[in-house]
Amino acid sequence: MQIADYSALMIFLVIALVVAGVITLLANQFGPKNRTRQKAMPYEAGSDPIGSPKQTRFSVKFYMIAISFILFDLETIFVIPWAVAWKQNDVMGHGLYAFGVMFVFVSILTIGLVYEWKQGGLEWD
């Protein structure tokens, strides 16, 4: 594949960026501009905001999800090239071998999933 084949994507990029830019400009150009103290306040059900969201603490579960995501999304990324090459392997008679190789990989990660599950890493309560 040559770089010229991606020219369509470049044209698309330019058009989409222009459209997004124009829409953002539209939002700023038209419409009234009378900023008041109340209007500029972050919305907190009508009362004055207490503290700042940048110091607010949130659940550690979100970190767990992010870490698990990295692990299992990487697994998916390693599985996909194998899945693409599967047909060739199968036609050449290496089907069971290719299956066994991936089965080892997938089962190691499945053990990881079971471990995380048992440790309570996937619980939300």
Binding site: A8, I23, E44, A83, F103, W124
Partner: protein, 383 residues
């Protein structure tokens, strides 16, 4: 005609004609009239269209929809105190653009053949002339990977919008949506691995071509017949990914106002909404392509309908122009059907709790995806 003019026409027709058209139609029909029908209301039926007092247009509620668009532009664009101005302005585009870029690889028809087409016994269509890609903005051999790489970017949009607004509701909404989206990304990836394994390609057009094959001479080899589990997984995870339907906790009105779009007003809010509708249409088209044969019409090949073996003269000969129209129509109808299905589910099912969503993603879909992959590979290795 030079290549770049064709490309621009394709982009304008597919993205700004079809996608934006359908996305707007969704706000009109789906959000206003369909929801009214389901909730036993009438919906908008009073306002006239530019003074035209025709009952039919009044019932469709078209003027409400046009007024909505104009209103978005004319409203004040507020940025809350302490918000990061640059990121606050950038986030709507980060939600909106990935929904558009994915369409670059979606095929609406097979390559346009300038010569004659002969169909081989293995359902392959051989073109004697030149093959032109008029119905796909860009042909990419890794189209499926590209589509998912691009749609994954909208996670940044939601997370940045939540963080940059300097609002607690926004922050919680942004966190919830990013955690939900990355959880279901894993399920989507694994469900796709099974599909890729069956078709052996990442090229979306090639994948649709493979679905023209027949199993036992009668059942088309659509993804939903060869990978039914993957279909349900993909459809569920795709809906969760668009933060629609029962999966809309990131913007649950009764809990956190509007989630990460709380502090957005004016056209920035409109862009976010449009981006989400475009993502809904995109998921619909991907389901149609990978599981329901994309532009394929059952038994229709390059020279007409074949109800037995695909070789020789067709049972019902169809001119090529009509075949092109039938195939484009097939793709569009399938896409619209899945968009409609998502909307029906959105208005019928109650919202899940957040822990239920996470349980579905990690404890049900992920093991199911692994099992589906292993069983598919084992079955295809043995048989």
């Amino acid at each position: 005609m030079p290549e770049w003019i064709i490309t621009i026409v394709k982009i304008l027709v597919i993205v700004f004609g079809f996608v934006m058209g359908v996305a707007s139609l969704l706000t009109l029909v789906g959000d206003r009239k369909q929801s009214a029908k389901i909730q036993n209301r009438i919906g908008p039926n009073r306002a006239t269209l530019f003074g035209l007092d025709i009952q039919f247009f009044k019932n469709l509620g078209i003027s409400h929809f046009i007024a909505d668009g104009i209103k978005m532009v004319l409203k004040e664009n507020t940025i809350p105190n302490g918000a990061n101005k640059f990121l606050h302005g950038l986030a709507p585009s980060l939600v909106f653009l990935p929904g558009l870029f994915g369409w670059a690889v979606i095929p609406f028809m097979d390559t346009y053949c300038t010569g004659d087409i002969t169909v081989l016994a293995n359902y392959q269509e051989v073109c004697s002339g030149e093959e032109k890609r008029y119905f796909q903005i860009m042909h990419m051999e890794v189209g499926l990977l590209y589509a998912f790489a691009i749609t994954a970017i909208s996670v940044y949009g939601a997370a940045i919008a939540g963080w940059a607004s300097n609002n607690k509701y926004s922050l919680i909404g942004g966190l919830r949506s990013s955690a939900q989206m990355i959880s279901y990304e894993v399920a989507i990836g694994l469900s796709l691995a099974g599909v890729i394994l069956v078709y052996g390609t990442l090229d979306l057009n090639e994948m649709v071509r493979m679905q023209g094959h027949q199993m036992w001479g009668i059942v088309p080899m659509w993804g939903v017949f060869v990978q039914p589990v993957a279909f349900f997984m993909f459809f569920l995870a795709g809906m969760a990914e668009t933060k629609r339907a029962p999966f809309d906790v990131p913007e649950g009105e009764s809990e956190i106002v509007a989630g990460y779009i709380t502090e957005y007003s004016s056209m920035k809010f409109g862009v976010m909404q449009l981006g989400e509708y475009a993502a809904t249409v995109f998921i619909g088209s991907l389901v149609a392509i990978m599981f329901f044969g994309g532009w394929q019409v059952p038994f229709l090949y390059g020279d007409g309908f074949h109800f037995g073996t695909p070789t020789g003269t067709p049972d019902v000969a169809v001119p090529y122009a009509l075949i092109v129209l039938l195939r484009i129509g097939s793709m569009v109808i399938k896409t619209l059907f899945f968009v409609w299905l998502q909307f029906m589910m959105r208005w019928t099912l109650p919202r899940f709790r957040y822990d239920q969503i996470m349980t579905l993603g990690w404890k049900i879909l992920l093991p199911l995806g692994l099992a589906n992959l292993v069983i598919t590979a084992l079955l295809s290795a043995i048989f």
